[in-house]
């Protein structure tokens, strides 16, 4: 037996029953109870009245230009986005500076490579010899500079 008074889900049963969304088995059970319960019957009657009264509020139609207005807004928003993006690029002080730097870098790279990539003359054999001699001489000079106190003791 489903009685709205004694049921914690009474409000839900009443609402769903009048909205036609109560499960068929429960609806049948509730209908059987309605034959014997005047209180529930009057509750159902009141809820149905409200339900029907709300049906009396007619829906409105969209105005004829609704879609056109919406598409115009979408289009103008997209244009605005592009304009904003472009303006952002043009007015950003970093952009001209970055452009100038890029141009300069390109110019430098176009002009310098010849110098950088020019093959270096191979060191001649005599030059290598001189270098070795110079290094040896330098090491000898350094040995002479070491103080006596720090020189290794000869036992």
């Amino acid at each position: 037996m489903i009685c709205l008074k004694d049921n914690s889900q009474g409000a839900e049963i009443l609402t769903d029953y009048c909205a036609g969304s109560l499960e068929a088995i429960r609806a049948a059970e509730f209908e059987a109870h309605l034959h014997d319960c005047g209180t529930c019957r009057s509750q159902v009657e009141l809820q149905r009245q409200v339900w029907n009264a709300l049906d009396a509020w007619p829906p409105v139609e969209a105005s004829p230009g609704f879609d056109a207005r919406l598409y115009a807004r979408i289009e103008s928003e997209q244009k605005r986005w592009w304009r904003r993006a472009m303006r952002g690029l043009l007015w950003n002080p970093l952009v001209p500076a970055a452009g100038a730097a890029a141009m300069l870098a390109i110019a430098v790279l176009a002009w310098i490579p010849g110098e950088h990539r020019a093959p270096q003359p191979a060191p001649s054999a005599s030059a290598e010899k001189i270098d070795v001699q110079q290094v040896e001489q330098a090491l000898d000079d350094m040995d002479l500079l070491i103080p006596v106190s720090q020189s290794p003791r000869v036992l």
Binding site: C18, R48, A56, P59, E61, A62, S63, I74
Partner: protein, 210 residues
């Protein structure tokens, strides 16, 4: 089953929008434009404001296309955006500005209805009064209760979906909805059911604006 298929279709369409397919966006707009506008209209009760907010909803959907992941149901996501915007608009008290146009819209809706069925002047007055009462009863609800009950009644969203849209628990949503209906029952109880029959556009238990 049909609802699941419809949701999958929405998610597929949105994924196609993500890939740059504009036609899929047009299809999504076609499918959800009406429900979103009506939800917002009933929330803010101003036609111009509701259309403006609906535009913002679809604009946000379009903006989010690149990052869209079908983690939640598309309608849940959509109504989450719509609810967020509606609640913000209400908090900004924008509805006060549109009070005059609400009455104008309301009159227009009744006028159309009258023209279709040709009721008597008396019936027209009764209907006018009843519709105003319904509107005022909804308007008097706290914002979250209003959003929850509108999504439940007119959009047919499940409790879990409404909970996601309102970013609260399912039990909190149930509480919001039941309290809202309780308030509406006490406010609208005096309305004779017979008198409402003529103005009804759907059967009880119907699908609302879906």
């Amino acid at each position: 089953m049909e609802a699941v298929a419809a949701l999958e279709r929405d998610a597929q369409l949105m994924l196609q929008v993500r890939e740059g397919d504009e036609t899929s966006f047009a299809l999504l707009l076609e499918r959800h434009r009406g429900p979103v506008i009506n939800f917002l209209y009933r929330m803010v009760q101003d036609r111009a404001v509701s259309e403006e907010l609906a535009q913002e909803v679809f604009l946000r959907v379009y903006r989010s296309r690149a990052s869209y992941e079908p983690a939640a149901k598309f309608t849940t996501w959509l109504f989450r955006i719509a609810t967020h915007l509606a609640l913000n608009a209400l908090r900004d008290n924008q509805k006060a500005k549109g009070r005059r146009s609400l009455d104008h819209d309301f009159g227009e809706a009744i006028e159309r209805h009258v023209a279709d069925r040709q009721p008597t002047i008396e019936q027209e007055l009764i209907r006018n009064t009843q519709l105003k009462e319904i509107r005022l009863a909804i308007e008097a609800l706290p914002e979250k209760q209003r959003a929850a009950v509108l999504m439940h009644k007119y959009q047919g969203l499940e409790y879990a979906q409404i909970a996601q849209a309102l970013q609260c628990s399912e039990s909190a949503v149930k509480s919001l909805i039941f309290r809202a209906y309780q308030t509406l029952r006490s406010r609208l109880a005096h309305m004779a059911p017979g008198a409402l029959q003529d103005t009804r556009t759907r059967q009880p238990g119907g699908a609302g604006d879906r």
